[in-house]
């Protein structure tokens, strides 16, 4: 991996939903504009950049364990008396050539 790194998490995505404390048993996330993005923000802004940075790998060997960065994406939710249903959402991640 090329170092030093200056990867940048986009505004609104640099937080851990698991550490946000709910108040009154309701969803606590304030949304992208206030620094706590939700899936609704991704739906409203298709293809938005959530992470960017300089070249990652020193080589093109995908088997190298030290030639990568690992990104952990955390989801959080407060169980509530929502309408009964089974829900799903597919989040598509795409890495492309940076600016």
């Amino acid at each position: 991996m090329k170092t030093p790194r200056q990867d940048v998490i986009a505004t609104g995505f640099d937080y851990d939903p698991a550490t946000v404390i709910a108040v009154n048993g309701l969803t606590p996330y304030t949304g992208l504009a206030l620094g706590q993005a939700t899936l609704a923000d991704l739906l409203a802004n298709p293809g938005m950049t959530i992470l960017s940075g300089p070249k990652i790998a020193n080589t093109q060997n995908t088997n190298s364990p030290n030639d990568l960065i690992t990104v952990t994406i955390t989801f959080g939710m407060v169980g509530q008396f929502f309408t009964p249903a089974t829900v799903s959402c597919v989040l598509t991640l795409t890495i492309v050539d940076g600016p």
């Binding site: 969803t27 509530q80 929502f82 597919v90």
Partner: protein
């Protein structure tokens, strides 16, 4: 000449194939979950309901004033609900001989809903709820008056709930939130009433009323 053209083209093909082999540029994360049908019946501290209504020592007086008691229950649901009540047989301890008289019975203890609060910011259909109290169990207007020092004609007594009987029903209660939410429930106050009389002496009596909330 033919051989030379092939030589020029081949390197280009190799470059494209090499690029494709490393082109893992996308992927998907699927987030799944389920919101089950949920019903909740708690006390006013959001804990398990285990309330005791102590009517005390029911010494006969010289009035027709009923001895009453109440218990508050909070209900939450994300679906239309029904609430049932079932009372156990009256358990009498230390009972004396009836000696030709009457012993207090379930029918001497009126039972019903004395009040109900249907509003809250996160209550579904807030301000427009039409929850239905089961026939006979609506004592929000008060208990029937006793006369002649005898038990009044209760519209419903514990004797009417010796089996699971629907006492309340309605549409979905909670918009969202959980048990920590302070404004997504309705409060139902259950009351009992009896008129102290010269019933057969005992040292105590009790009946356990089990309330159950479930899907309609």
């Amino acid at each position: 000449m033919v051989t030379f053209k092939r030589l020029l083209i081949l390197p280009g093909v190799i470059v494209i194939l090499a690029s494709a082999a490393f082109a893992q540029t996308g992927g998907a994360i699927t987030v799944t979950g389920a919101n089950p049908e949920s019903f909740s019946l708690t006390n006013t501290s959001e804990g398990t309901l285990s309330s005791t209504i102590a009517l005390g020592s029911l010494t006969p007086g010289n009035t027709n004033t009923l001895t009453t008691g109440t218990a508050d229950v909070r209900l939450r649901s994300n679906k239309a609900y029904k609430l049932t009540a079932q009372a156990t047989a009256l358990n009498i301890t230390g009972g004396a001989a009836a000696d030709g008289g009457d012993t207090i019975a379930l029918s001497d203890i009126g039972f019903g809903i004395t009040s109900i609060t249907l509003t809250g910011a996160n209550v579904a259909n807030n301000g427009a709820r039409t929850d239905a109290i089961g026939a006979g169990f609506d004592v929000t207007g008060g208990w029937p008056a006793a006369a002649n020092g005898l038990s009044p004609t209760f519209t419903a007594s514990l004797n009417e709930v010796t089996s699971a009987t629907q006492v309340l029903s309605g549409t979905r209660i909670s918009k969202k939130g959980n048990l920590a939410t302070t404004d997504n429930y309705i409060t139902v106050t259950f009351g009992v009433a009896t008129l102290p009389q010269f019933f057969t002496p005992n040292t105590g009596f009790s009946s356990v009323i089990t309330l159950t909330i479930a899907s309609q």
